[in-house]
Amino acid sequence: MKILAIDSSNLVMGVAVNDEERVLGELITNVKKNHSIRLMPAIEQLLKDVDLNPNDLDRIAVAMGPGSYTGVRIGVTIAKTLAWTLNKDLVGISSLEILAQNGRHFNGYIIPFFDARRGQVYTGIYKCEKGIVKVVEEDRLTLLDKWLEHLVQYDQPLLFLGNDLEKHRQTIKDYCGTLAVFPETTMNNPRPSELANLSIGRPAVPDVHQFVPQYLQLAEAEAKWLDKQKRSYT
């Protein structure tokens, strides 16, 4: 089974092609550049390098968020369009779950996170059991302070993962003290080959047309509108 994996949900852009668990090719950049310009050329180049045509693929795996709204949409649109038009399986995986794979051999809780501005983070709690990284607490958008207060209650080692670590390292230390574990910098990039791998055990999306990003947040205008509706009923 040939899998094309696409992750443009955050600053890191990644494309991989796996044949089952074997990684045929993987391309990762961690620079502030436009995904809309670079993602399709990356896919085109990687497929060429591993001698595959789009139609040789069996499955498209995509990072479905959370992350940058625009970034996620670019990846999801491309993945969805390819899967629909070539009639391939589509699998969406949480962007946080992909990052959490980098903590696979950690004995404790794995905390992947992306900065979401205004003191907020996209994050969740994962734990590795018998080599499989499992969700302990669902992905969410939360205030970092509140989240850290919650995490220390586990009273277990906490592995923080992500490229936004530097920005929040001190805050995390302040709240979690010696419970906080920081990885090697090289472990902070989510890897698209892990995304491809994760997709193997997952059921394909039943209706590709209906597939949408996991924003974890309503559009601001939508939230305000809903709030107004609620208030006008009470």
Partner: protein, 341 residues
């Protein structure tokens, strides 16, 4: 037979604002399918288009709309010569969905990808309902644009005049809001104007004598002031008369400048295109002015005036035949210039 009359089948894709659209057009002139998923109901709640909401809807609709366009047209991917997509102008987050979806399709089938300027799409809506005779003057009027464009031949665009402030459609929407009409206001004003009389003499901005530029912000302010002053004095204003007077003022400037340009440039045809080309007041006044001057007029049928992908496929057909191509690095450009095309 010119090179623009070749047999072609082109899929067009349009996501620049609040319509997700795909269409298949044959030979640049015949619509095989034309699918538009409008988001107007969603944005109505907010009184205008919210970019983030628009982008989300585009992701939901994109593949559905493309599938329906291909099914309705009864064509297969191997029947297509090219995929044409709106590159700009428009909302950047919205443009990105169409552009990246189009790139994925072009990649999947190794089909040429043709970037299209949205306004050239509005112009080429005219080729789907009749002939284009060159040279011509095109008046583009929509919520985002008010431009006079001179075309000496297919695929050649020279802007000879444009708005210096508000677009005509924008002025319509703002005035509509001031007199309490629902979004989108343009069609509402038009309807109301039909039952009113142009009793108020609102200003017309003619600008410099030799200028083909437009300005609608002064007019817009004059209408708003008139309404507010009347409200403060507790007077009852006849909304239909305000709508009629406002429309009269906009249409007067649009028609007069277009006719003047047509005469000075010795054109064989006047085209009107864009959302405001659906305005009944404009259609009627332009028709009678053109008849009087003996200049042939082309205005697309109402359904082709608002954003759609058939017009993008039609414009893209010309781009395709002229050899315009984009590669996989194509990006959406909110401020794309028509003269670079």
């Amino acid at each position: 037979m010119s090179r623009f009359d070749q047999e072609t089948t082109v899929l067009g894709i349009e996501t620049s604002c609040d319509e997700t659209a795909a269409a298949v057009v044959k030979d640049g002139t015949k619509i095989l399918s034309n699918v538009v998923a409008s988001q107007i109901k969603s944005h109505k709640r907010f009184g205008g288009v919210v970019p983030e909401v628009a982008s989300r809807h585009h992701v939901e609709q994109f593949t559905l709309v493309c599938e329906k366009a291909m099914e309705d047209a009864k064509v297969d991917w191997k029947d297509l010569d090219a995929i044409a997509v709106t590159q700009g102008p428009g909302l950047v987050g919205a443009l990105l969905i169409g552009v990246n979806g189009a790139k994925a399709l072009s990649f999947a089938y190794d089909l040429p990808l043709v970037p299209v300027h949205h306004i050239t799409g509005h112009i080429y809506a005219n080729r789907l309902s009749g002939d284009m005779k060159f040279p011509l003057i095109a008046l583009i009027v929509s919520g985002g644009h008010t431009e006079l464009i001179y075309m000496k031949e297919h695929g050649s665009y020279e802007i000879i005049g444009q708005t210096r402030d508000d677009a005509a459609g924008e002025a319509f929407d703002k005035v509509a809001r001031t007199i309490g009409l629902p979004y989108p206001g343009g069609p509402e004003i038009d309807k109301l104007a039909n039952i009113g009389e142009p009793t108020i003499d609102f200003p017309r901005a003619w600008l410099e004598p030799d200028s083909y530029d437009f300005s609608f912000s002064g007019l817009k302010s004059a209408v708003i002031n008139t309404v507010h002053n009347a409200e403060q004095r507790g007077e009852e204003l006849n909304k239909a008369d305000i709508a009629a007077s406002f429309r009269e003022s906009v249409v007067d400037v649009l028609v007069t400048k277009t006719i003047k340009a047509a005469k000075n440039y010795h054109v064989k045809q006047i085209l009107v295109a864009g959302g405001v080309a659906a305005n009944q007041g404009l259609r009627e006044r332009m028709a009678s002015a053109c008849a009087k001057e003996g200049i042939p007029l082309s205005i697309p049928p109402l359904a082709l005036c608002t954003d759609n992908a058939a017009m993008i496929a039609a414009a893209g057909t010309i781009g395709y035949l002229k050899g315009h191509r984009a590669d996989m690095s194509l990006n959406g450009k909110p401020g794309l210039n028509i003269e670079d095309f």
